[in-house]
Amino acid sequence: MRSVMCLAIPMRILSIEGDEAEVELGGVVRRVSIALTPKARVGDYVLLHTGYAIGVVDEEEAEQTLKLLEEIAGFSEVS
């Protein structure tokens, strides 16, 4: 994994042990720190940056954004 400075990718938490967690993306499993996201739970997606989860993905917001995008796409088809 490249250490591109401000990039972060969403990975799913498989297990938590103290302030560390095992996370997975596309079959790749890594051990990361969740010291910055103490509220993260197993099953959550976290944004991973240089070995640290920096935020928990808000799945509800993600769905709303996709819904909005589909609406925009629908409107465009009508127009």
């Binding site: 994994m1 400075m5 799913r12 720190s33 993600a62 925009i72």
Partner: protein
């Protein structure tokens, strides 16, 4: 992959591009602050997808690029110290300092190691108790809390041979400096997604209020970026600039409070030296005195003073990286671009870093030969 693939849909991207074309009437100039956005915009051909009325300009948000030559010289000087293992993110290795680079220092015998995370550097300190492990701490608010967490961890676990050479930088103060400078007239800013995961969207509120410039926080997939551009166009066309989040799955207005608390605990706000901008007051972080035994600037003050005495800072000759970072020059306008300066043989950091605007232009279609062909 969840939360990535959906935002790479070419169908949605085409619809958004169409929407932007329909709604964009007057010519506008948007700056993407973050080098990650510049890279994504060029890689996905977003400049070709948006209408000619929308100009996209790279900004100063590439941590390696904005690191001052003097800060590189300090890292190289420490790397040459026999008791030091200098650890760094990979992008820093080939950036030229005044007289050398970390890569050249390594070839000459210095112990320089590329790490993926500060946790790797802490582990290195643990298994090398006779050495001082120095981490070259560059980056913005995205990276700052990870460095704060590493210092707290070292303190908690009694790892006294871990030190950070801190040149962390802050986004909103440099945005203010850039806008105050007024060299480039901007209508909107695509605000950095992962910086904003940490700081939230509120710190940008002065931008529409004081400068009348629209702000939208964006994610990094093509659909995210097009959504952000579409929101910016709508704001500008309606004449009502404000701060919006188009990356709601990652960013909250208040940011990540735990990360912000940790930053406040470990750092204090300081001035910072930026390539292209010079010293900007209040735009950087230094390590708070209560953690000074982890501060490489304090621990190695004598070594640095001795190594850098009588060695003036020399900028790479002919390099216009500073102007590119301020948005005053575009990469293909630099006389060295693609000729004397290529990713294989870079003159300045904007061509070295994978987030650098020159590297992105070179790789994805800004190369002069491609421009000629087009």
């Amino acid at each position: 992959m969840k939360f990535l693939d959906e935002y790479q849909s070419s169908r949605l991207a085409a619809k958004l591009a169409h929407r932007i074309s329909v709604s964009s009437k007057k010519p506008i100039r948007l700056m993407e602050f973050c080098g990650g956005h510049t890279h994504a915009i060029l890689r996905h051909g977003i400049r070709q997808l948006v209408p000619r009325t929308v100009e996209l300009l790279p900004g100063p948000g590439c941590p390696v690029c904005v690191t001052a030559t003097s800060d590189l010289d300090r890292a190289i000087a420490l790397a040459r110290s026999p008791e030091v293992i200098l650890t760094t993110f990979g992008d820093m290795m080939r950036v030229p300092g005044s007289y050398s680079s970390l890569q050249r220092a390594k070839a000459e015998g210095a112990d320089v190691r590329v790490v993926y995370s500060t946790m790797d550097a802490i582990e290195m300190a643990r298994v090398n108790p006779g050495k001082s492990v120095v981490f070259s701490g560059i980056g913005f608010e995205t990276t700052a809390p990870t460095i704060a967490a590493s210092i707290v961890k070292a303190q908690r676990e009694g790892i006294s041979n871990f030190h950070v050479l801190c040149s962390l930088k802050l986004t909103p103060p440099v945005m203010k400096a850039l806008l105050d400078l007024g060299e480039v007239k901007l209508d909107g800013i695509i605000c950095p997604g992962h910086v904003s995961v940490i700081i939230g969207s509120r710190p940008y509120e002065f931008i529409p209020l004081d400068h009348g410039v629209a702000c939208v926080v964006s994610g990094f997939e093509p659909v995210d970026i097009l959504l952000a551009i579409s929101r910016l166009v709508a704001q500008i066309e309606s004449g009502q600039p404000k701060v919006e989040i188009a990356y709601g799955r990652g960013v909250k207005p208040q940011g990540n409070s735990e990360a912000l608390q940790l930053m406040e605990e470990v750092f204090r706000i300081d001035s910072a030296d930026w390539r292209g901008m010079g010293v900007v007051p209040g735009s950087g972080l230094s390590i708070d005195p209560k953690y000074e035994r982890f501060d490489a600037d304090v621990v190695f003050a004598d070594t640095l003073e001795l190594a850098l005495r009588n060695t003036p800072v020399i900028e790479p000759p002919g390099c216009r990286c500073g102007e590119v970072l301020r948005g005053v020059t575009t990469p293909p306008d630099c006389p060295l671009f693609g000729k004397g300066c290529t990713p294989e043989k870079p003159v300045g950091p904007c061509m070295v870093s994978s987030e650098g605007a020159c590297a992105a232009h070179y790789q994805y279609g800004g190369h002069p030969s491609l421009l000629r062909a087009g």
